[in-house]
């Protein structure tokens, strides 16, 4: 009996060994895919709204070129950001990926050799690729000579769409209070006037996702550019002008005025942009501060929404109104990838006119290719027409300390809830700025 048990054990072990050996040998051998030598590139992205369009384009690209493009979606964007950073540390970045964050984060990726320099490819064939794209969108992915980040000058990313952030107005609500809906407010005074009429009728003024503090930052910097001009804003970032400057107090005071005039929707300081979009789409606010991506969002929420796009009304006539804009989403090529050339070819293909027209049609986003603006909806073309007024922190060549940005934006929330005065906030922001500058020295 014992002998039989031993024989059984031996047989079992041998069988197990044979199975493992077979699996090992099979997995080491060339598989069917390798035999055919199908090339493939991997793309990581966070844009859940574009997933289907990307998959369709990948299918078309494989038919045209035989190269398989695997789009991998990782959402939400916070999770994606962490995934890309973790992958960078473990050298497992895909062939193509996007970088979310500030310009300093982008610079850090470039300096650490994770991002391929696309300048030569962009400039090749007399700049054929570069010239197709909106210059402002490309600028977001570019590092200029002697940039403060210490990055070798060049273009390090390809914009796949373009965006800008403006104000939207509800035509029906403006008409209801006797305002000309084809002539939205152009000055701050006009805006306040119209708001008084709206308020009398019980209509909320402005909604925006100011619980997400970057949108406050965006609104405030639009007015900073309008009130004191680009140079003074950049001088402040460089530490040459104080936040206690009267012009900055004027910027902060606009928020105080909006609060006192009841222009801001109730709960705006903790409102996420999705809620703001719902309120505007459901005719519950007359104005919204939102980006061009909203066209698709509003279409989904209320296809009958009657609205238009306008630049934020000017608070000063000293400088033109400037809005944030440029590349909406960009792709970078992994410098460590074995498929650099294939990745570049794909990015060239996806930014060609036909593909951009398709993407724009499917996602209602502004294309990054300037020759693909045909057949876009009226509202989207209004957004496109303001591209000349755009700027973006990523093209300023200098960036503010994150702690200063946070104090600035959270402080504006405090003005809105009546906790701080513009002067108090200016002092507070300047203190943080001085502390950070002292640390740097």
């Amino acid at each position: 009996m014992k002998g039989l048990y031993k024989k059984f054990c031996l047989f079992f072990m041998l069988s197990l060994f044979t199975v493992f050996l077979s699996v090992f040998l099979v997995s080491c051998g060339p598989n069917a895919q390798n035999k055919k030598q199908v090339k493939s590139i991997k793309v990581w992205h966070w844009m859940s709204d574009r997933e289907n369009a990307f998959l369709e384009l990948a299918k078309r690209y494989e038919i045209e070129t035989g190269v398989r493009v695997n789009f991998e979606l990782y959402a939400p964007s916070d999770a994606y950001t962490q995934k890309v950073r973790a992958a960078a540390q473990t050298n497992t970045l895909p062939d193509i990926f996007g970088i979310l964050g500030e310009k300093r984060d982008f610079a850090s990726f470039v300096k650490s050799d994770y991002v391929y320099d696309l300048t030569e490819d962009m400039d090749g064939e007399n700049g054929a690729w570069k010239n197709k794209l909106f210059a402002k969108a490309l600028a977001v992915n570019e590092f200029e000579q002697a940039n403060s980040f210490g990055v070798k000058p060049g273009i390090y990313g390809v914009p796949i769409d373009v965006t800008n952030i403006q104000m939207l107005y509800n035509k029906d609500l403006l008409q209801a209070v006797g305002s000309d809906s084809s002539n939205p407010p152009k000055t701050w005074k006009d805006l306040i006037e119209i708001n008084r009429k709206l308020k009398a009728k019980g209509v909320q003024g402005l909604v925006s996702g100011w619980g997400e503090i970057w949108m406050i930052d965006c609104f405030a910097s639009n007015y900073a550019f309008n009130i004191m001009g680009k140079d003074k804003v950049l001088d402040t970032i460089r530490g040459e002008v104080s936040y206690n400057d009267p012009d900055w107090i004027k910027v902060f005071d606009l928020f105080r005025e909006m609060r006192d005039e009841g222009l801001l929707a109730s709960g705006i300081v903790t409102m996420v942009n999705k809620t703001a979009e719902q309120l505007f789409a459901n005719n519950r606010a007359a104005f919204a501060f939102n980006g061009s991506w909203c066209v698709n969002v509003y279409k989904g929420m209320n296809p009958d929404l009657n609205y238009g796009v306008m630049l934020p009304p000017q608070a000063s006539d000293r400088y033109p109104m400037t809005i944030w804009g440029g590349a909406g989403s960009s792709f970078m090529v992994n410098k460590q990838s074995k498929n650099i050339q294939e990745a570049v070819k794909f990015l060239k293909w996806i930014t060609e006119t036909d593909q951009q027209v398709y993407l724009s049609k499917e996602t209602q986003d502004l294309p990054s290719n300037k020759y693909s603006l045909k057949d876009i909806p009226m509202v989207l073309s209004q957004f496109a027409s303001a591209m000349d007024n755009t700027t973006h922190p990523n093209v300023w060549g200098a960036s503010e300390f994150p702690t200063v940005i946070e104090t600035f934006d959270k402080g504006i929330q405090s003005i809105i809830i009546g906790e701080k005065t513009p002067e108090q906030l200016a002092r507070e922001v300047q203190q943080v700025k001085e502390r950070e500058m002292a640390k740097k020295q």
């Binding site: 950001t81 850090s108 650490s112 109730s266 946070e406 405090s414 906790e419």
Partner: protein
């Protein structure tokens, strides 16, 4: 004989090895790494070089001076205090009610436990809608019952935002305390109550002299876990207020996330994590000491 002993020792070590390996990889190494990073200035992107990034205790010095961090700690402390008192007292009262032989006891148990199984994000979003200043149900009810003077923008008002979040945290968490306390109550022998009744004890005397002393170990466990769980509150805050308005609902975990993601200050975020861990450890230590003292008393 010696060979046999060596073999036995080796065998023992071999059996322990997988557990040691798992513990080392998933607990000791990450902790070591977080502590190492807390001594560095690093953005989480550039290739990590300890010698180049090492800044000593500078992150901790800055952290000690960071008023917003300590404010966030106090705010988490406030929510914890609410949970320790309001949430656990409610849980105890309901557990006491369900401990009796009442009709439909199991239904009540399910109902009280229900908030706990709901996703925190969903709870946060639903309550955010209820609290909404414009179209929220709470304001609608208040207006309907003639309390229009109480109508406010609950989550954007600095005076009410933190309490609103704390109340929802308690609402979501009381089911867990309820189950733990109910389980504890059911371990108390019924004979003790019968004997007390025979001696003419009132309900309050039975609660004070039988239930409370025998429930001390359960109270201690529930309070330690409440403190540890509540201090780390995060998802509710993120889905309801995102730390706003201003810094009024910031808690330590939202600050750590802000340092790590928004500011790319990985080293500083790690020092916040280490400090937070140390504070929680100290609180737990005090609680354990206190519980030992209470048991002896």
């Amino acid at each position: 004989m010696n060979n046999m002993r060596t073999k036995a020792v080796l065998q023992n070590y071999l059996f322990v090895l997988p557990a040691v390996l798992i513990f080392s990889i998933f607990y000791i190494y990450p902790f070591y790494k977080v502590f190492t990073l807390s001594l560095c200035q690093w953005d989480g992107i550039a290739r990590f070089d300890f010698a180049k990034n090492f800044i000593g205790l500078r992150n901790f010095i800055e952290l000690f001076q960071d008023k917003i961090w300590w404010g966030a700690m106090l705010q988490a402390g406030y929510i914890t205090l609410m949970a320790l008192t309001f949430q656990n007292v409610l849980a105890l009262m309901l557990a006491l009610a369900c401990d009796r032989d009442i009709k439909g006891g199991n239904i009540y148990r399910v109902i009280f436990y229900l908030p706990l199984v709901l996703s925190e994000v969903v709870v946060g979003l639903v309550w955010k809608w209820i609290y909404d200043g414009n179209y929220g149900l709470l304001n609608y009810w208040l207006q309907n019952v003639g309390l229009s003077n109480l109508v406010t923008d609950w989550l954007s008002n600095p005076k009410t935002a933190l309490t609103c979040v704390a109340v929802i945290h308690c609402w979501k968490g009381f089911g867990w305390g309820f189950i733990m306390l109910l389980a504890g109550l059911q371990t108390i022998p019924r004979q003790l109550y019968e004997a007390a009744k025979v001696d003419g004890a009132s309900s309050w005397q039975m609660f004070k002299s039988v239930t409370l002393p025998l429930m001390v170990p359960v109270f201690i466990l529930v309070s330690i876990l409440t403190v540890l769980g509540t201090m780390q509150v995060f998802v509710l805050i993120l889905s309801m207020t995102n730390g706003g308005p201003g810094y009024h609902t910031e808690v330590p975990v939202t600050r750590i996330l802000a340092s790590m993601v928004d500011s790319s200050r990985f080293g500083y975020a790690c020092s916040q994590g280490v400090m937070f861990g140390a504070v929680l450890l100290a609180v737990s230590f005090v609680q354990i000491k206190l519980s030992k003292y209470m048991k002896q008393a």
